[in-house]
Amino acid sequence: MTDARSDEELMRAYVDGDHEAFRILFGRYAPMLMRLTVRHLKSEELAREVVQQTFFQMHAARLDFKVDRKLRPWVFTIAMNLVREHFRKKKRRKETELEDERLEQPASERGPIERRQRAELLHAAMEKLPASQREVVELHWFEERPFAEVAQIVGASEGAVRVRAHRAYKKLKDLLGEELG
């Protein structure tokens, strides 16, 4: 599925009826969207549903795509809205007791922290961030999107997004204080 065309060119081709362009876009975006949604939903099955819905909504909204816009924030916004909708329906995110216990344990009771465990601790701490801060960290740090694009996706100014990131990192540091030493 290699194609030299840009995402936007492919989307334009798809809007004009080129179904192969949709398949190529799927190949490019599905892995990114799975990573993003698995991180939020903590379930590959739920993430698959949200990714499926994202592409379905992308198809339904294809005539809304403006030719001068970037596709990535457009698609990511749909995915993030679907994730938010999932949590809105669920009312609140479930935090596992295990994760809470891990965070509350004093460092002296734990053995050497493995890389994977540290990643889990970090994700558990991220669960404690307000949703508006967490999504900024996830998009900026984990998806490596620039602040300007994150701002487009979450619907805030770049300045507000930078402040959210700053607060999020500060809170993460506080939450992981003992482990960070």
């Binding site: 398949r23 799927f26 599905a30 892995p31 799975m34 990573r35 698995v38 991180r39 590959e44 993430a47 698959r48 990714v51 499926q52 592409f55 379905f56 909504q57 198809h59 339904a60 909204a61 294809r62 005539l63 809304d64 795509f65 457009w74 698609v75 916004t77 749909i78 809205n81 679907l82 938010r84 909708e85 809105r88 329906k89 890389r115 994977r116 540290r118 990643a119 970090l122 994700h123 740090w141 984990f142 602040f147 487009q152 996706i153 979450v154 619907g155 805030a156 300045g159 930078r162 402040v163 990131a165 700053h166 607060r167 990192y169 500060k170 993460l172 540091k173 992981l176 960070l180 030493g181």
Partner: protein
């Protein structure tokens, strides 16, 4: 940590943790086999339904359809069922009533059909529209330019106006639901739009001006749409949650 506007990034220790977490999750690639087929199957099934064609129209077209349907109902009422005292009714009050109800109706339609590729509307914005809908219809009923000498039974024609208002509000509710692609709070905003349309129609048709009637038979149309549908959705959620 430094100035968030210039460098909102994590400090080196936290950065190390974040980098490890990013690497750790990059290792397992999610299983995507069959997902494209599922997407294409879902799209194929949806495209068999005529309503899906409507939902896939550009957002400005969907908004124009819903606004046009609402304005069509208002236009038909004005043309065929205009209140007998229309020309004697205070023009300024009529202008304020039609202007505020119409503007809020168009705003509700606009917000209800917000596309999913736009960041979500703030909850405060939705609450403001609902609050303004209730407050404006309440105020229009309360401060109606009535003649204190008018003798009417308080409960006369209440059921007729209520029925009429609800009946004329329902089409815009269903048109909005039909055009909805799954945006947040469409139902609540559609209920506002339906209540506002019901009130617009009653404002143009019903010759009663006493606040008691307007409260019981006109304002309650909005209240029934917003509170009634809110209650229905809450009940549905509760029932689904129990399963």
């Amino acid at each position: 940590m430094s100035d968030p506007m210039h460098d909102p990034g994590p400090d080196p220790e936290l950065e190390e943790w974040l980098a490890e977490a990013r690497e750790a999750e990059a290792e397992p690639q999610p299983e995507l086999e069959g997902l494209l087929e599922s997407v294409e199957r879902e799209i194929g099934q949806a495209e068999k339904k005529p309503t899906f064609w409507l939902r896939t129209r550009p957002t400005w077209v969907r908004r124009a359809i819903a606004s046009g349907a609402a304005l069509g109902v208002v236009g038909l009422t004005a043309a065929l069922m205009l209140r007998a005292d229309f020309h004697d009714y205070p023009a300024s009050y009529m202008a304020v009533a039609l202007g505020s109800l119409g503007a809020l109706l168009l705003l509700s339609v606009h917000m209800a059909l917000r596309p999913l590729h736009r960041p979500p509307m703030r909850g405060a914005a939705r609450a403001a529209v609902v609050g303004l809908t209730l407050a404006s219809t309440f105020a229009l009923a309360l401060f109606s330019p009535h003649d204190p000498g008018e003798a009417h039974g308080v409960f006369d024609h209440v059921s007729g106006c209520l029925f009429f208002g609800l009946l004329f509000g329902v089409p815009v509710y269903f048109v909005l639901r039909l055009l909805d692609r799954g945006a947040q709070a469409t139902s609540l905003l559609a209920a506002c739009a339906a209540g506002l349309l019901g009130n617009l129609v009653l404002q143009l048709h019903c010759p009663r001006k006493d606040p008691e009637h307007l409260m019981l038979a006109h304002f309650s149309v909005v209240l029934l749409f917003v509170a009634g549908l809110g209650l229905a959705h809450w009940l549905v959620r509760r029932l689904r949650g129990q399963r």
